[in-house]
Every structure is written in C-alpha cells, then in structure tokens.
C-alpha cells in the first residue's frame, strides 16, 4: 500500500506512511484512520486552530451543467445555515481526497448507457476501484440526476450512494433520484439533507504511536531488485503501426530511490525462438552442461546471442577459420552492409563451423547486458513505483522476424504480476534546475517523452513556479500522442505552460519537432534569454542533430549571432548545464 500521488505529505512522511501501511492489519488501519482524524479535529499541540464552522463538501459530476448549477444552489443554502461549503467538481479532483471530507453532499448525473458525465469518468473509475481508501468518517447524502426514458436511470448516483456506504461512510439522509423535472425533489432533498448533518464535533485525540521502520537491503546493478510489474499499457491507439508501452514497476519495500532524469536498467531474457535457432545452427543440444546450468538456460539469461558486429565476426573466425568469412571481413564497408539487419544466427548459418563445443561457442559470446530506459515517473508522485515508456522493437529483415531483446521481453514475457530484475542508473547530466523558478523547454518526440513525464510530475509535486514548455512529436495525432490526457490535465492546471506538437504523417509534408522549434524561434530565444534550460531526449542519429541545428539557427535568426558565435553560444549553454541531452 503506497500513499496516493495526491497526498499532502512530504516525501519523508510519505515514506514513513507507506512503510507503516505495509505492516498494518485492517483493524490497525481502521484504528489509525480514526486516530489521525482525531488529530485533525483537535489540532496538534503546536498548531491548534479553533473550528469556526462545520465544513461541508459539495461534490458534483455534470454533463449538461444541471448538476453543476444545483451544486451551487447547495453551497448557497448550506452557507445560509452556517456551513462552510466547498464545491468540488469531479473533473478537477481525485477521488482519494474524499477521505478528508467529513460532511459530503453529492450531486451527480447519469447519461447514455449508465455512464458518468464525460469529465467525471476518471474520478468515477478511481472511486469505484480498489484503490479507494476507507471513508469511515464521511457523513453523506446523494442527489442523483437522470432521465427515466433511459434504461439505467440514475445509475451513477446509485453507485455513489452504495459505495460511499460500503466504504464505511454514514448515510445521514436517503438518496433522491431525480427525473428530468428535478427541481422539486431536489429542493426537498436539500432541505432534509442539510438538517441531517450534525453540528461540529470534537473527537478525542491521543499521542502518536511509534512507527517501526524496517531496515532496507541495498540493490544495485550487481544485485538487481526483483520488481513486480503492476501495469502495462500499449499507449498507441488502434490504427497505429507503433507499439509503445507504458510500464509500471513496484518498488514496494525495496527502499530504492531515484531522481527524474535517471534511468532504470532491466536484465532481459532471450526469446525461445532465438535460443532454438542458435542451438540448431550450432548443432549443440539444449541440455548440455554450461557451468551449473543447462546450455539453454545459460543462453536464455547469461549470453548475448543476437548482437552482431565486425569485432564478434573477427573473434568468430579465429575459431571457425573460414576463408570465405576472411575474404568478406577484408572488405570492411561491404561487411558492414552485410551485417545491417542481421544477427549472430545469420553468421552461424552463413559461415558454419564443423563442430562446436559448448565452451568454444560460449567463449565467443558477450554476457547479456541490461538495457537502460529513461524513467518516466517522479518518485514524489509515485513513491513506490517506477514507470517506463518502452517502444517494442519488431521488424523483419533478411526473411527473418527479429526483435529488440529487452523491449519484447517486457512486452511479451513479463505479464502483470511477474517480476523483472532491475536497478537504478543515476544520470547527473540530465537534471532539472535546482531553482524551481527557472523555466524549462523540453523536446521529447516518441519515447523521448519519458524523462519529461518525470520532470513534469516532479515540478508539479514541488509546486515549482518556473514555466514548462514541452515539444512532442510522433507519426499520427490520433494514435500516437503518448500520455495525451495527462498533458491536457497539466495544461489545465497550469503546470504545463505550453505544449507544441508535430505529427509527421497527418499531412502530405512531414512535420517534425525541429520544424515547430523553428516556427516558435522568437519565443524560444526569449525563454533562453530569460535563463531557460533546454532538454532533448530521444533519437540520437537524426532528431537530436536536427534539433541542435534548429537551436543554432534560432541563435542566428533571433539572437543576431554569426554562425560561429551561435556555435560558441550553444557550447557555453551546454557547459552551463542549461542544454542537456539524453539521446540514444
């Protein structure tokens, strides 16, 4: 059990709370929730504040605007009766915060086939999910809006009523189900419900119980942590040719910490198909001994059996001694072409050895290296989790289906509930400015978006005042806009100042992020002049170079610099750690 992203606790408090939560029985948890609520009522000894008025939360979910208007009426009437009413729109809130409400009135409509209002969908799903905390202190009543001409009349109101009660809330006044002419039943409900709430009560307080903190084991590259995969989503919509995964891994109980900009290493396993192909090409048997494992087991987790380079081929030919291969290797450029799109198995098949021994073969192989992925989450927002954005690599070359070993290991082999071996890799060359007031520009097309999700989450959690401008690009707006809903929320909250997108294949001419940078050159120059940090993540071979050139052009066009001065300026920017890249 980790504390939710929205918790108002400091990171240290969150850690203690999470660790404590992991050790609690249900009764203990219930007792504690009452105990802490008591502190909230009486105030801590240091910061005691008198309760002036009884607080009342008016929660609404509105599609057509009726529920919104009525919730305003509720607040007005409540104010007149001495409540301190706070109106909350489900579209702007997290359901978990309900635990803080003591007196709650809900006005919510149902539409379509028993669906919640569009804007309230996330709230509703969170509210109905297992992640909802207990609401033992909540006194509530529900006003459901609906239309009897639809089958699922007032379903959402009924769901709220039911679940509030199941979560331990106390229904102080019966729910009302309103049809399209809601005015009268609503007025009657409002009058009755307001009378049903008690006046402010003072709960007894007590001294906090001591919390025991378990000692943590140290995990690192040599001793990777077996982390449970808790969520895996293909972010691309139906119709996309891409397969970009959002993956969440649990750190619960590991004591591991990371910072935005860091990477996560994952130890993959080779695919059964690739192992079989290599065994077939070498004539070796799966069951032969290799150290204390079978050969098949060793090939699965210990050796890199796919990578191919001239260096490996040279080493290989020392064993195989093939004249043909020697000739091929002599033509360096030609051999490089041949290697392109090919793997070790192609070498084994094209230049076969008469007889392989386990040792002679494995002696050629490099150990299977972990792959690093830029982390896509902030630990401040997800204390017990680390998130990744992984593009599954699959292609066909030279009549063979080939894959990226680690990306497809995660995509195909590690199911939700399974574990993967992971470790953290710190990257101090990709860090947010320490000063939260400094503006940042982030350019992250494709999976390059990952660290910027972490940056934004971090800046949001830190309530950083600095402006944030994100550039994102991919193939199609409709299918490939990674994390779009999250960005829209951040824009709405003002955390993201600007989001500029470039989708290359929605129109005839290809549009990439560097084109958008050029279009917005004057503003980018202004941001940089005002001290902005500039970050780039993603493809190194083309994108990063094009973006680099776009920056040089901006310095010339909008900064009035010569080509040479622009270069010097960019170098200085890099030295100042204001131009940082995480490219691959």
């Amino acid at each position: 059990m980790s504390t939710p992203a929205t918790s108002p606790l400091s990171p240290d408090q969150q850690q203690i709370a999470s660790q404590l939560a992991a050790t609690l029985s249900p009764e203990q948890a219930n007792w504690l929730s009452g105990f802490y609520a008591g502190i909230a009522h009486t105030g801590s000894p240091v910061a005691a504040a008198p309760v002036a008025k009884t607080e009342l939360t008016v929660l609404y979910g509105s599609e057509s605007g009726n529920a919104e208007k009525l919730s305003g009426d509720v607040a007005k009437a409540a104010g007149k009766q001495g409540f301190k009413a706070k109106v909350v729109n489900m579209a702007d809130a997290k359901a978990a915060t309900l635990a803080k409400a003591e007196n709650l009135l809900v006005v919510v409509s149902t539409w379509g086939e028993g669906d919640p209002p569009e804007g309230a969908t996330d709230y509703y799903e969170e509210f109905m999910s297992d992640a909802m905390p207990q609401l033992a202190n909540v006194k509530f009543s529900v006003c459901a809006l609906g239309d009897t001409s639809y089958e699922h009349f007032c379903k959402i109101g009924k769901d709220f009523d039911d679940r509030l009660s199941k979560l331990g809330g106390e229904r102080v006044y019966d729910r009302v189900d309103c049809d399209v002419d809601f005015e009268e039943p609503f007025a009657k409900w409002l009058e009755g419900a307001l009378k049903a709430f008690p006046s402010a009560e003072i709960a007894p307080g007590g001294a906090p119980a001591p919390a025991t903190i378990p000692a943590a084991t140290v995990y690192d590259k040599k001793n990777p942590y077996s982390s449970e995969l808790t969520e895996k989503i293909v972010l691309n919509g139906t119709g996309s040719i891409k397969e970009t995964l959002h993956v969440e891994l649990s750190l619960e109980g590991s004591g591991l910490t990371y910072q935005p900009g860091d990477s996560l290493g994952i130890y993959p396993e080779n695919r059964a198909e690739d192992i079989e192909a290599v065994l077939a090409a070498t004539g070796l048997s799966a069951n032969e001994k290799c150290g204390d494992k079978t050969l098949a087991e060793a090939l699965k987790s210990d050796f890199d059996i796919t990578s191919l380079s001239p260096a490996i081929a040279l080493k290989y030919n020392k064993v195989v001694e093939s004249d043909d291969l020697e000739k091929a290797l002599a033509d360096k450029a030609g051999f490089k072409d041949w290697i392109w799109g090919r793997q070790l198995v192609d070498l084994l098949e094209t230049y076969p050895n008469k007889k392989w021994e386990v040792e002679s073969f494995t002696g050629l192989l490099r150990p299977l290296a972990p792959r690093l992925y830029s982390i896509a989450s902030s630990q401040k927002a997800h204390p017990d989790e680390v998130h990744l954005t992984i593009a599954a690599v699959r292609y066909n070359a030279h009549d063979r289906d080939r894959v990226g070993v680690c990306s497809t290991y995660i995509a195909d082999k590690v199911a939700i509930g399974d574990t993967a071996k992971v470790f953290f890799h710190s990257n101090n060359n990709f860090r947010l400015p320490e000063n939260d007031d400094v503006p940042v520009i982030m350019v992250g097309p494709g999976t390059g978006i990952a660290p910027f999700r972490a940056f934004i989450e971090e800046r949001a959690a830190r309530e950083a005042k600095g402006k944030n401008w994100l550039f994102f690009g991919d193939q199609h707006f409709s299918f490939d806009f990674l994390y779009q809903l999250e960005w829209l929320d951040y824009l709405k909250d003002g955390v993201l100042t600007e989001l500029t997108t470039a989708f290359s294949r929605d129109q005839k001419e290809k549009i990439y992020v560097q084109h958008r940078l050029a279009e917005r050159g004057a503003e980018i120059w202004e941001w940089l002049e005002n001290g902005a940090h500039f970050y780039v993540c993603g493809d190194a071979t083309r994108m990063a170079k094009d973006v680099n050139q776009a920056l040089l052009d901006i310095a010339q066009q909008h900064g009035g610099k010569s080509a040479e001065d622009a270069k010097a300026w960019l170098t200085a920017l890099r030295k100042d750690k204001r131009y940082q890249r995480d490219v691959y």
Partner: protein, 585 residues
C-alpha cells in the same frame, strides 16, 4: 429582439460576435483534437460537427488518449446538383483529408467524416476552391435548400433549381466569420460575402439583415417539390414549395408549406414529429420574399427559452396557422392566394435510364445509405471518379441518398454505360423494392446523439426481412423502411411505412402506418423491440398484408385498416392512441 433567450445556445450565439467565438484559437491549439464546447455549437453554422469514435472511447481512456475526435463536414449543394469537376474534388478531399468515403445525405448534401482538427481548415478551403461551401450546412439557420432532381422534365428542373439557389443565397448568413476563419490565407485581405440586401426592407442589423445577432431559434430546412414526385419529403420540412404546373413545363407558382419537422425527444410528449401545413399559393416572383418572411416570423416568434420547443412546427402549433399566415403577409405586403390542386404519387427514386424531352439521358443509381466508397467487390468510388473524368453533364444527389448521373448526351451514353459495366455499377438497383426504399442515418460510431446502430445495421435487417418477402411474393412491392439511431429523425423515420428509432443499443421503437408518399405520420406499434426480435414481430403483419391486402393497397394504409395501429392525423396526436400490441415473441 434584443433580449437573450434562456436556452444555452442563445447565450453562445449572443457572445459569439456573429459566429466567430474562439474557433481560431481552438484550431491553433495542437494539444487537443477538440474545440471548446461553445465553439462546437458555433462550428455547426460553418457546416462542421465535432464527433468522436464512440466504439473506442473506453479503450482510448485506458491508453491515456483523449477520445478520437474528428469532424464531420457537410457541404451545401443547393438542389443537390454538382459538376463533374466538383465531384472529382470531393472525391479527392475524402481520400486526402477524411476517411476515404463520400457520404450523400438525406438532404442532398455531401458529407465528409473523420477529418482531424489539423486538416479542417485545409479541407474547407479546398471545398471553397471547388466553388462549393459549408456555410449554414448545419446550425440555427436556413440549411441546404433541396429540390426535386426531376430528370424527366428538364425545363422545370432548371426553374426549380434556380429558385433553390436564389433562396439558398438569399437566406445565407452574411457574417464575415466564415471567410475570416476558413478562407483567409493570412495575406491580411479580408474577403466578405457579397452583400445581398433583403427583399423585405426593414434592416435592423447591418451585419445580419435577415437573421440578426441571434440567428434562428433552431435549425430551418427548406425544400421544393415537383409533383407527382415527393422525393424531397415536403411535409417533413420547415418550409416547402410545391410547384404548380400548367401543361408540362410551365410553373405558374407554388403552394407554400410550413411547419414540418421530424425531431422529438424520447419520453417528452411535448415534442413530436409534425407534417407541414399548406399555407397558401404564391407566384414564382413572390417565392423568395415569402421564404424570407417565414424565416423572419420564426426568428421573432420562435421559442428561444426551450430548445426542444424551438422549431417552426411548435411556433405554428402555438400561434395557429391563420395568425402565422397573417404575420407572414404583413411582412410581405401582399396576401397569399388559396392553395392549388396537386397530387403526389411517391417519395422514392426512379432507377435506371430515362430520356428527357431534349433527348438527353439520365441514369439513377441506388447507393445504399448514400455511402460512396470502394470495396474489392464493388469499387464504387473509383467507378464514379472514372465517369466524372469524362462526363459532361452533372451529378445530382437525391433526397433518398441516391445519385443521378444527369444530362448525358446521346454521344456519351455508350461510353458511360461501358464504365457502369466495368465498375459493376450497372445493376446497383437490382435489389428488392424494400431495399431500394430503405434509408438510414449515420449514427454509431461517430454521431454524438446516437443511442443505437443505424447505417451499420439496417442493411442486415433488410436482408432478414427480404426472406419473408421472397416467401410471400412481395419482392417487387415497394415498402418504405427507415431507421435512425436516435429520435431526432435525420432519415425521416416517422413518415415511413416501417420506421425504427433507436432507444438503446440493440433496442428500437417500431412505428407503422406512415404514408407511402410521405403524406401521413406513423404511430408507435411496439416500444423497445430487441433487434433479434424485429423479424418475428414483423413477420405476421407482412404475411397478413400479402394475403389480405386490397388491390394496390399500400403497406402503411393496410396496417391502419387492419387495426395494427391507429392513423396519426396530426403531429399533436403522434403519442396518442398507442395500444400495447400482442407480440408474437
């Protein structure tokens, strides 16, 4: 009319600066494929509806993607007549910017679906370059003006098409917003629609002389019919003109009809479909002026507080036809004459080849649900493109979502016949008479109003019913069958002999007893029938009809005579006299 009506849309219009709103800002926002809620209301006046693929909403939310927003663009085609060049351009735009299909609507317009926001401006600019536009194709204004495509009487068709174009032009909004937003190429030069002063001279608002700042209270639809064909469904529209002929080709004037409309709301008996009344007769040169007067009376007397009660049909119910006529005549400055005699025979299309008086040929094709797209078995879009490349006449969209390749000279006929053959279009109408008289709206997955399937389902349902028809020898008997996914009535289901209106996924209200040529509303026969039970419910009635009908008796008339439903005499009584049927299921 300076006070703002209480319905939400009235406030939006009031604040919009003549339909501008914040549409330009919305188009520039590249983070979302959506426009703001208020702008979504305003873009309708520009012929654009925001929609999303409702089939994949849940899946996309899980993928952290907003709904798959895209836009439907409706192209105004007065009288449904377009040139081959325009056809080729619409085809190209459908493939380059939309979902690859061209939709012919029930109101003689082209429709594109699936245009994403970043391609919207380009699409509309290109439609305008083809000398068509989307202004007032939707929204609270006079929309596309329809007229009978009438391939038999080419002289008469020329006259009514001209009137349709005049009315369309005269009642077009004058706001410069359309050009500012869609056509402005950034050169800073503001083009405005040519000023066309109103016929009735009491200009209250120089920006919008006919509509004023708040436009109409609700949508407004105008049609022109030439008897004996009522293919435009004259009684289903707010304003109609029935051409009165002397001899074969001289139009002496028009019977003006007012107050027809299909839409209603489930569970609200204050809303109902209504057939138009004949208001009176006017001469051809009075026709535009009468139209403007009807629009202005509706502008000033229509209900702006309750949107479901805002259409002209309710205004007329409230004022009474006589009082309404009085107001119209007051604005016109002349009296309407007594209506003249006329006779309608049907509201369907006549398929196949027709030769007109001038010796030109016209070919009417059946286009199921108006959807023009390619499949391997039936490359309709490609075939029509090939015809458009050589065709020298015009293309006419019919009110039944079909297509007429019109004005083919005798010299070109053979060439076109060859292409019809080559692209398998030659037997498009070799279908059961039921299928040829079937019509469905778009509905799921893109229409935001849809409660049930329509266009994706009706062809299958017709297939099920066809087996009964084959069995009872009714294959060649025309019966009108129409389906909509919601009660708003785009496919005009309440005047079909068999009408289905969606209530929930897989559930339809079944209406019977509509008039064969659109002269009588239907009546609810069975509420919320499950789709898998429809055939069982209809079968005994169809068998009864096959066995016991009188000579020439239409299915709609039969269901009334045999007591399956009571006749609906007028819209007010649409919800009355429903009798719970004893169903076979």
């Amino acid at each position: 009319m300076s006070t703002i009506g209480k319905s939400a849309n009235e406030g939006i219009k009031d604040a919009s600066e003549y339909l501008r709103g914040t549409i330009l800002d919305g188009l520039a926002d590249s983070a979302t494929g959506s426009l703001s809620k208020d702008d979504q209301q305003l873009t309708k006046f520009h012929g654009i509806y925001q929609q999303d693929d409702r089939d994949i909403r849940k899946e996309r939310r899980k993928k952290k993607l907003e709904p798959a927003y895209s836009f439907m663009i409706r192209v105004r085609v007065p009288g449904g007549v377009s040139t081959p060049e325009q056809w080729i351009e619409m085809d190209r735009i459908a493939q380059e910017h939309a979902n690859g299909a061209l939709k012919l609507t029930t109101r003689q317009a082209f429709q594109f679906h699936g245009v994403i926001k970043s391609n919207l401006k380009k699409s509309i600019a290109e439609i305008n370059e083809a000398l068509l536009d989307t202004l007032a194709a939707c929204g609270d204004v006079n929309r596309n003006v329809m007229c009978n495509p009438n391939p038999m009487q080419s002289k008469v068709h020329g006259d009514v098409l001209e009137l349709a174009t005049q009315i369309s032009d005269h009642l077009s909004p004058r706001t410069g917003a359309y050009h500012d937003i869609w056509i402005d190429d950034g050169s800073g030069e503001k083009v405005k629609v040519t000023y066309d002063p109103p016929l009735i001279d009491d200009i209250a608002d120089p920006e919008e002389p006919i509509y004023g700042k708040h436009y109409l209270p609700r949508k407004f639809k105008t049609v022109i019919a030439v008897p004996p064909s009522n293919d435009v469904d004259i009684y289903a529209h707010d304003l109609g003109y029935i051409a009165i002929l002397e001899g074969d080709d001289k139009i002496v004037g028009y019977n003006v009809t007012v107050g027809g409309g299909m839409g209603m709301t489930h569970g609200n008996e204050e809303t109902f479909p209504r057939l138009a009344d004949v208001l009176g007769f006017c001469t051809p040169d009075q026709a535009v002026k009468v139209g403007e007067a009807v629009v202005r009376v509706q502008r000033d007397f229509g209900n702006r507080d309750v949107r479901t009660n805002a259409r002209l049909k309710y205004t007329i119910e409230r004022l009474g036809l006589d009082k309404f006529r009085e107001e119209v005549e007051k604005l016109c400055g002349f009296k309407l004459e007594k209506p003249r005699e006329f006779t309608f025979e049907d509201n369907g299309d006549r398929y196949g080849w027709i030769e007109d008086h001038e010796g030109n040929f016209h070919y009417t094709m059946f286009i199921e649900n108006g959807r023009v797209y390619d499949t391997e078995a039936y490359p309709l879009l490609t075939g029509l493109r090939e015809i458009a490349k050589i065709h020298e006449g015009d293309f006419r969209l019919t009110a039944n979502q079909n297509l007429i390749i019109a004005n083919i000279s005798p010299a070109k006929k053979a060439e076109i016949e060859k292409l019809l053959e080559e692209y398998k279009m030659v037997d498009s109408y070799e279908r059961s008479a039921l299928r040829l008289n079937s019509m469905a709206c778009v509905s799921l997955p893109t229409c935001g109003l849809a409660l049930a399937e329509s266009q994706r389902y009706l062809p299958d349902l017709v297939g099920e019913i066809e087996s009964i028809l084959e069995d009872t020898g009714l294959r060649h008997d025309a019966i009108t069958i129409r389906m909509t996914g919601c009660p708003n009535g785009c496919a005009r289901p309440y005047i079909a002999e068999i009408g289905f209106v969606g209530r929930a996924p897989g559930k339809y209200n079944l209406y019977l007893g509509g008039g064969f040529h659109g002269e009588r509303l239907s009546k609810l026969y069975a509420p919320s029938v499950q789709s898998d039970e429809i055939k069982t419910v209809l079968e005994p009635i169809i068998r009864d009809y096959a066995k016991n009908r009188k000579d020439g008796e239409r299915f709609g008339d039969f269901t009334i005579r045999s007591g399956y439903v009571k006749a609906t005499e007028n819209g007010r009584d649409f919800h009355k006299d429903f009798v719970e049927p004893t169903l076979a299921v």
